[in-house]
Symmetry: C2
Subunit: 114 residues, 2 copies
Amino acid sequence: MDSSLDSIFSALSDPTRRAILQRLAHGKATVAELADPFELSQPAISKHLKVLEQAGLIRSGREATSRPRELQPDALKKISDWIGDYRRFWDQSFDRLDGYLSKVQGYEDDKSED
Amino acid sequence: MDSSLDSIFSALSDPTRRAILQRLAHGKATVAELADPFELSQPAISKHLKVLEQAGLIRSGREATSRPRELQPDALKKISDWIGDYRRFWDQSFDRLDGYLSKVQGYEDDKSED
DNA sequence: CGGCTATATAGCTGAATGGTGATATATGGA
DNA sequence: TCCATATATCACCATTCAGCTATATAGCCG
């Protein structure tokens, strides 16, 4: 498991993987259920799930012979927090520049990831 | 210019590019200024900037012989909105599941990107 | 136990990515 | 006009990635 900003953003850059997350927003699902909407092979889906899991976006359980997946919100929260630092650039309620520069010190800030 | 969720997330998956964005959060900067903190070649930085620009995360101007870059918040807002759909999974104030399923209809939702 | 079902892993391939040094282009100033 | 400076582009290489088919593993059920 990595769960760095690198791997989270990378995992989210694929539309198949985002679609899988959207499906999981409805609740737990088996690999077969997750694969169903796509014209991809089963191993391709398993690979996507592995990427999502290693990024910390989902986790897998065990139920008889199936291994249902479910959302794990921590990773999404993490990038949400990252984006939060930039919210002032588009959000009116964050539009006061004053006092902002004291919070963001430089490009080194980004290194504070796990 | 692409500016799809694919290209935005993909652009953000590189730590050098996120560091560049962080630097640009302080304000406009030239390519030389952006390249300075890194041990990468100038062409490498230009390539990163191209990726960021094609994702719609930054834009370039012209000032004498330099081409200063600046943040373009639209793309960040776009993924912030995307993440917003999942906020209920970690945010207490969004913890009421009721009425949520009427908003998220399925994986096809994700196709509503430009 | 033996086989069926669900899923994972292995090994391969082609395309994309990130880096390099060399070179091209554009603009302001002497 | 010609040069210096700033930046972009070219051609190349190594690595990563997304897909495939074939095969292996794990757990339930007869």
